[in-house]
């Protein structure tokens, strides 16, 4: 039996090159395929700043906040993708991920989900509220996922999950700033 664990590709969510002094809110929508109750989906957000080793100040001197919303979606027969259950926060009130200080032991999030539905969708919200930028070094945020079977699956079923991982996540990434 093959190992029933697969990582998706890593997708860029946001890239901030040098600071142009803007005060900006960035919302990055993304979608993962939902695997069903016998597979755990782990959603991974990673934030890095070029030239720095994590953990680092991802608030960039208290000028940035990071928040996340997740929901369960269902695909209708007429092609709509409908949010039907909040899983983490809400769209209007996503959950704050950073601790609001310049000293943080995490630079991202790792969230496990096991359940039904067709998709796990969400939005990453970054609020830049000042003009600071760490020595002009670019800041990157990435999203990827991992699908792990929580019970043994037959080969046909794992092939289905494997194909799902290949198409996930779908991220509408944003680049901003100068450079």
């Amino acid at each position: 039996m093959r190992r029933q664990s697969v990582e998706t590709g890593q997708r860029s969510a946001a890239r901030w090159f040098n600071n142009d002094g803007s005060v900006v809110t960035v919302v990055v929508p993304f979608r993962f395929a939902a695997p069903g109750p016998r597979v755990m989906l782990t959603i991974k957000l990673l934030v890095t700043i070029m030239g720095q080793r994590p953990p680092m100040d991802w608030t960039v001197g208290l000028t940035a906040t990071w928040s996340l919303w997740l929901c369960r979606s269902i695909f209708t027969d007429d092609g709509q993708r409908v949010p039907v259950q909040n899983l983490l926060g809400s769209r209007a009130n996503p959950v704050r991920l950073d601790n609001g200080s310049t000293v943080d032991s995490v630079n991202g999030a790792s969230i496990d989900w096991t359940g039904g539905g067709d998709g796990v969708d969400g939005e990453l919200t970054i609020n830049f509220i000042g003009v600071s930028n760490v020595s002009g070094n670019p800041l990157y945020a990435f999203l990827r996922g991992r699908y792990n079977a929580v019970a043994p699956l037959c080969d046909d079923e794992w092939d289905r999950i494997f194909a799902m991982a290949g198409a996930s996540p779908d991220v509408r990434s944003i680049n901003f700033g100068t450079g």
């Binding site: 069903g36 109750p37 016998r38 929901c71 369960r72 269902i74 695909f75 209708t76 027969d77 007429d78 709509q80 993708r81 409908v82 949010p83 039907v84 259950q85 909040n86 809400s90 769209r91 209007a92 359940g115 039904g116 539905g117 929580v150 019970a151 043994p152 699956l153 037959c154 046909d156 079923e157 289905r160």
Partner: protein, 180 residues
């Protein structure tokens, strides 16, 4: 064998045709009962009640129209009276109660209700109630439907047993309400 069973069509509960000229009277609840078989406790039933427009505009949209339109749901675990009447008897509330069904959604960005259920009851019975839909833009129509999925939860079930279990999932279309 892929052990996921999905009905080929959603179960329609209520439909307003675009531009429906006969909306129900204000304050009169429109109730649609339904029964969902749950033949084996090793299956998870993924339940999704979805509210969409027939002519889609934006998604999500506020299906409560700032709280003026009430969507309610009652779900209960139920078992057949095999010793007498053969009737389906609710034995435990799962979502809301029949007298006080759950008002949903609590978030304007959510267009329905979803949850997963697993248990040894014979079926899940429920009622969807819509009250005061006049606030909705019915020019675009409205559809309320159930999207279901049955999936083996923990260990894989052998193919023969899976076929036997799935053959017992006889979903009967609810008596949907249609407004034209």
């Amino acid at each position: 064998m892929v052990q996921v069973f999905r009905p080929s069509q959603p179960l329609m509960l209520l439909t307003f045709a675009p531009g429906a000229s006969t909306p129900p009277a204000a304050g009169v609840p429109q109730v649609v009962p339904f029964v969902l078989p749950t033949p084996d406790s090793r299956l998870t039933l993924s339940f999704g009640l979805v509210v969409t427009q027939v002519i889609p505009t934006t998604m999500p949209f506020d299906i409560t129209v700032a709280g003026t339109v009430n969507h309610q749901l009652w779900l209960a675990a139920a078992n057949f009276d095999t010793g007498g009447s053969g009737l389906l008897v609710p034995s435990g509330n799962l979502v809301g109660t029949r007298a006080a069904p759950l008002l949903f959604p609590s978030d304007v960005n959510i267009c329905g209700y979803a949850d997963d259920f697993q248990g040894g009851q014979d079926a899940i019975m429920g009622e969807y109630t819509l009250t005061d839909p006049a606030g909705l833009t019915l020019a675009n129509g409205l559809r309320v439907a159930l999207y279901l999925s049955y999936e083996a939860t923990e260990a894989e079930i052998c193919d023969e047993e899976w076929r036997e279990i799935v053959s017992a999932i006889a979903l009967r279309a609810p008596q949907a309400l249609v407004f034209k």
